[in-house]
Subunit: 333 residues, 2 copies
DNA sequence: CTGAAAGCGCTTACAG
DNA sequence: CTGAAAGCGCTTACAG
């Protein structure tokens, strides 16, 4: 079933049939209707490969993920895939656990000439980034920023989120704050810490202690418990770089140190993943503005697909608020 | 950068250059080496679209997911994507939350003529299945079986898993068993229940009560607590259709009914997702043979990509064992 | 507004 | 073993 078949069927030329499928092509409205209707009847759709061979556009978005143990990402991947489909873009998924593999994966992805790459992974290697540039593929970093400047970014205002947590804890009487840090190179980790520490100091507290957990994972949080125990005086308010880290940290602190939350210490996370609301965790946390971040990404994808190039910019969206649950003491006592 | 460029650069014909990239093509070994080496140097890769226009093969695997709140799937999606890339296949992801959307999504996917579709979603509508058949795209159901016969399936032996749980509970002194059921139409749910119930009856117990939770989700499990409370006599051993359901059920039973696990009742899940091992859950569960299931799927993908058609079959892999944690009483008392 | 023709980047019979 | 040529299913100047 090709244009030719449809053209013959309709007694038109292939050119005319082809034009019917292009919104901006010059064609009589009635002719277009005729073609589209008949196409729907017999189930014809233009072959996207043949099309992209000429147009140099593929309607493919390459989605690069790696941080898969963080439940924040599956949700984003699903939502993004659905939302992009609504503007007729298809997601080609590239997943990588080790960072060495990601370069290969991106290279293979580029072979399919995606109109756009969206990076959900912690960091994309400089080599892979350069290849995207050479291929002329724009890159959007979602929830992470690149270290260099020539990429788009859509992220939460993480520093504002960190400050929000500091205010929340201080307003409720906490005086000895600490931060459980994740990947040292991740912009999210850095900005959340900075916003948190800065606000604490502004409000006259000692600079919060920092416990290096190293990763955004349950295990990293769990194993940060000894680092917490070593702190003296013991902090009473702990901000963890994200939810999954916070959940691991709470389990570690309870199980390994026998401490009680929020009686012995308050814990606050960042993301508001679904499981933060489960009674077994009851995590007080900063809610990411996921809807706004998705909308911004899709809008940007649409623009990049339509026009040529815009100068790269970062869209930093305010957090969607702090969700109060049971992991942080709420009274000033 | 096209074959033409490379051919000119090497002083060869495009035919020869093209042949260098096809393992089975007739070409002098040294010529091939020359071409491949130069291609690597200048970064040439054949355009997969132009290629597939002729070969009718795309190296694209369409991955259809929907049950995204189940943490079992993100892991599978990542692993499958990586493993398929190792045999040079690329994953095009199709995600859908509502079931109406999935038909559209599959239709769009077929436009890219994937060599294969892998279904991780609960069920694929009959309409979408027919379209795959018409397009000649083989379908593999992963961890689910189709209701009709003409599709491949890779799954755990769920009935054996259910029997395993019955034996485990009975051997440890439980006498009043119950099953918390998920999607009534899902083969996993049906088979696990059947295996569990059959073995319980075989061993002389009353047929286990069945609580219909309706879905494979935390919320469904949580809200099954009242249904459990309504049972008389109260069951002492509960098998939940999967882990995420079990975790929700445990939270519901503790929070809504004030019961203690495993003192008041034992709970066993199915999957062994990462969070089942967390101290906050400590879920005793049946481990899915994920490695073997992935290997089988990739192997099947390779075969389907290479040869033409094999008769559809189902590969039912024994469970990888029962993992003992804290949610089920281990002593006979 | 429509059609005939060239061409996108490849592969693959067909000759040699 | 290699090359010239046809053709995969489209799109898009160019004429009319």
């Amino acid at each position: 079933m090709t244009v030719k078949d449809l053209a013959r069927d309709l007694g038109m030329s292939v050119s005319t049939v082809s034009r019917a499928f292009h919104p901006h092509a010059v064609i009589a409205p009635q002719t277009r209707d005729l073609v589209l209707q008949r196409a729907a009847e017999i189930g014809y759709r233009p072959n996207p490969f043949a099309r992209s061979l000429i147009t140099k556009r593929t309607s493919i978005v390459g989605l690069v993920v790696s941080d898969i143990t963080n439940p924040f990402y599956p949700e984003v991947v699903t939502r993004l895939t659905e939302d992009l489909r609504a503007i007729d873009m298809n997601v080609m998924l590239v997943a990588a656990s080790a960072s060495g593999e990601i370069d290969d994966a991106v290279r293979l992805l580029l072979t399919y000439q995606p109109d756009l790459a969206v990076i959900l992974a912690s960091t994309l290697s400089t080599a892979a980034r350069r290849e995207c540039d050479e291929a002329g593929t724009p890159v959007i970093f979602f929830n992470r920023l690149s270290n260099d400047d020539d990429a788009f970014g859509v992220t939460c205002d993480n520093a504002a989120g960190g400050a929000l947590v500091a205010d929340y804890l201080i307003d409720r009487g906490h005086r000895r704050l600490a931060y459980v840090a994740a990947r040292p190179d991740a912009s999210t980790n850095i900005e959340r810490r900075e916003g948190f520490v800065r606000r604490a100091v502004e409000r006259g507290l000692a600079s919060p202690a920092v416990i290096e957990a190293g990763l955004f994972s349950y295990e990293a949080g769990y194993h940060a418990a000894p680092g917490f125990a070593a702190l003296s005086p013991r902090p009473d308010g702990v901000f963890c770089a994200n939810d999954i880290l916070a959940i691991g940290f709470m389990d570690g602190v309870r199980r390994e140190l026998g401490l009680s939350i929020p009686d012995d210490l308050s814990v606050v996370g960042f993301d508001d993943v679904a499981m933060a609301a489960w009674p077994s965790h009851g995590l007080t946390t900063v809610r990411q503005p996921v809807e706004a971040m998705l909308a911004s990404t899709v809008e940007l994808a649409r623009k990049l697909a339509a026009h040529a190039s815009t100068a790269p910019f970062v869209n930093r969206i305010p957090p969607a608020g702090l969700v109060e649950r049971q992991s942080a003491r709420t009274r000033h006592d």
